[in-house]
Amino acid sequence: MLKHILSDDFPRSRILTVLLIVIVLGLVFAPFIFPGTRSLNTAARICIFIVLIASYDLLLGYTGIVSFAHTMFFGIGAYGVALTLNAMGPSWAAIPLGALAGVVCAGLLALVIGLFSLRVKAIFFAMVTLAVASAFAVLVSQLSDFTGGEDGLSYKIPREFTPAFKLFDDKIFGVRISGKIVMYYSIVIVSILLFLTMLRMVNSPFGRVLQAIRENAFRAEAIGYRTVRYQTATNVLAAIFAALAGAMMALWLRYTGPDTTLSMEIMVDILLMVVIGGMGTMYGAIVGATIFILAQNYLQNALAVAGEVTEGIPILSELLHPDRWLLWLGLLFILSVYFFPTGVVGRLREHAVRRKETAT
């Protein structure tokens, strides 16, 4: 049963299994274990980013395609929901309609980009997507009547998803089940489903072809796989999952704007999360997203402490100033590529393999 759900792709490392269980349980029970808006926000972001990172890993880790347009698809999904909610008001119908519209647009655009530019060299594709994504961002800011431009869109969501709504009259384990928590659980459930779907896809015959293409595209073609078709298909699939993640983000934030969905910074964050977690392993998405988002949310606090300690030392205190947290993030970037070239998941698996070897 578990084997079927996880598509026979187990963590294959005891430490990793424990880590994953802790993360998943932590997310599932977040409203009860870590009450408070900030932690709930963090938990929801983690869930959504797990889907986003996993979808990017389909491209990067499994197919070896470097794309900088992933935030664009994320954004299309978000804008789909945002625009319908904006136009139709906080109705239930607007959500699936918007998500669907986003998915279709994202898929079509990914198809066009894929057909046009997946034939060229990988680094080329990276740059082309970079340019396309930046053009898209310009477009969104231009069509301000429609998209709210730079300012983005704020909109209302169905009442059952807002803090004002109470699901039960009584508290459960000391926590009032507000609409916000209802929405949180909706996101958790959808994220789990999407994640498991992707896990299945990478372990399907299709997923194996992707790995073959990443390893040796030339030979994959020669044994009868039309590599461009598979790459384009992955590009489309990844875009669709990203759009769904975007739709969830739009719901959760009740705001959609270029900065939350389209910016280059998010793209960089995505890359980093994939790398920290480990490319080519779906579980890497869980680990990477969790570590990174926690760091992003709490690094400044940590630096504040370090900054106080070094108060007075000229350059060092300046470097450890909480406002310099990006500096340390950059460093984290580089160090994680060096020391975790295969990501946390890869590292733990290697460790497990080595232990097994020494044991036998």
């Binding site: 470097v66 530019s117 060229v120 680094i123 740059m127 340019a131 310009v138 231009q142 310099r324 580089i334």
Partner: protein, 352 residues
């Protein structure tokens, strides 16, 4: 089976040599077309704009803008073409160069405000030298600690150089503070000269001079000396270059330093053009630089040069004729060129 075999040899004339024909006129024309694009676009622009002085103003401004972009892009394409390293941190070096150069210029305020062209240029020259030196040294460290472990792995390069980008930007904040810094151009480079009704900014003329000189120099180094060969060879198979007795590490460092120094030069030029510098300025221009590099064909100096001129001209004509068009002109140009030549104007020959 063998009785069915027939000998065919008798009727076949033995080809003495491999058949090799001279490249046809058509082939040669195809080779030349990228070079022709610049005059073609300028001519089309002339027809569309119809006012001579306006056209001249726009054309010269566009060429100068293109050359400034070329200066910034040249380092990127050099490092990519020779070392196959895609440096997403290039923009940070542009910013760094600008900050160093501007600091020097501010220190030499007496020189820059002097009306003497000669003293102004001396100040500029000093600022550029120090900026190039500074970015070169920084490039050394960048290569040593950031890029070296990831030669040959594009994805990792993208990641670590982006990390490097963030770090350099933040370090600029640490050392220069978060404010944007304003800088006035040296006195004799302010304003324009009027020529047959066209007004031409003085500063842009300097940019044209530096850009063209740089292009000539780079072509000579890359095509006329062994350095270019060695580096290209070293990227593909560093072990073999070492087995031939060359110290490849030293060479790589030098090339990377050169690329960084070019970014520094570009930074000073760009900073003086913008007259305001920020830690993000380099990265903001990077999209345009990437487009130029793609149009030209990754790693080709000639392509980068032509691509930059095309971008500069088209942006100006476009913005004049239909301002909305300026938003998409670069991307449009890139798409058009890639449809025509999927590897860019001058694909750098990569066998395999």
């Amino acid at each position: 089976m063998s009785d069915q075999a027939q000998l065919k040899a008798a009727e076949t004339v033995m080809p003495e040599r491999a058949i090799i024909e001279a490249p046809s006129f058509q082939d040669q024309l195809i080779k030349l077309t990228p070079w022709l694009l610049v005059p073609i676009i300028a001519f089309v622009g002339f027809l569309a704009i119809s006012s001579g002085p306006t056209w001249a103003t726009l054309t010269i401004a566009g060429l100068a803008m293109g050359l400034m972009i070329f200066i910034m892009a040249s380092g990127l394409t050099l490092v990519f073409g020779l070392m196959d390293v895609i440096n997403f941190g290039h923009g940070a070096f542009v910013s760094l160069g600008a900050f160093i150069g501007v600091t020097i210029l501010l220190m030499l305020a007496g020189w820059t405000s002097s009306p003497s062209f000669f003293i102004n240029m001396l100040a500029l020259f000093l600022a550029i030298s120090v900026a190039m030196g500074g970015t070169a040294i920084f490039g050394w460290a960048f290569e040593r600690y950031i890029v070296m472990p990831v030669y040959g792995a594009h994805l990792k390069q993208i990641l670590v150089t982006m990390g490097g980008l963030i770090i350099v930007q933040q370090l600029i904040h640490v050392f220069w503070g978060p404010d944007e810094i304003f800088i006035a151009r040296p006195e004799s480079l302010k304003g324009s000269i009027e020529l047959f009704g066209a007004s031409i900014e003085r500063y842009r003329l300097v940019a044209v001079g530096i850009g063209v000189a740089l292009f000539a120099l780079m072509r000579w180094v890359l095509n006329g000396t062994k350095i270019g060969l060695l580096v290209r060879a070293g990227v593909e198979n560093g072990e073999m270059v070492e087995a031939l007795g060359y110290n490849i590490r030293r060479l790589f460092v030098l090339v990377f330093m050169a690329g960084s120094a070019l970014a520094g030069l570009g930074g000073v030029m760009w900073g003086l053009y913008q007259e305001v510098i920020t830690a993000h300025m380099g990265n903001e221009i990077m999209i345009l630089v990437f487009i130029v590099v793609i149009i030209g064909g990754l790693g080709s100096i000639e392509g980068c040069f032509i691509g930059a001129l095309l971008v500069g001209l088209l942006a100006n004509y476009g913005a004049y004729l239909a301002p909305k068009f300026a938003l998409v002109s670069n991307i449009g140009l890139m798409v058009a060129i890639l449809m025509w030549r999927p590897q860019g104007l001058f694909p750098v020959v990569k066998a395999k």
